[in-house]
Symmetry: C2
């Protein structure tokens, strides 16, 4: 794997996996008042676009990590809808 | 601009600009207890990696939007450090 591809994988790992402690925290606190609904919904839509972009360009780090992020950001959106009031 | 490049720009616009209402909300509520510190710090580190990846691969949408996201996620980290206790 080339150096810049490693960087893409590391960047993707960090940005995607950062959503794990965030989603976890919302479910643990059973509260998501501070989370912005436009944030969680625009994020999900944007990640879906990135995923299609990655597939069309054949960029592996973009594909893999946006697929992971899609699941995680969907989980965060559920937390917002469940605990956000 | 090619179709997939437009998709990259739209995806980047959505994921980056989603941080605007989120950071705004934290400063407005003056509270960031629900925001995870690992989330805001890993996100910032990951975006920095993506920016270098984009520069090294010459991917304009990746460069432009990660530069914007870097500023916005730094703002969110400041909100967490200021209001997060």
């Amino acid at each position: 794997m080339a150096g810049n591809e490693i960087l893409g994988f590391v960047g993707g790992a960090l940005t995607s996996l950062s959503l794990v402690p965030q989603a976890w925290r919302l479910f643990r606190l059973k509260s998501a008042r501070e989370i912005s609904l436009p944030f969680s919904s625009l994020l999900l839509a944007g990640i879906a676009c990135w995923l299609v972009y990655g597939i069309s360009m054949g960029l592996m780090p973009v594909i893999v990590w946006n697929a992971v992020s899609l699941v995680l950001s969907f989980t965060m959106l559920i937390a917002k809808l469940k605990y956000g009031r």
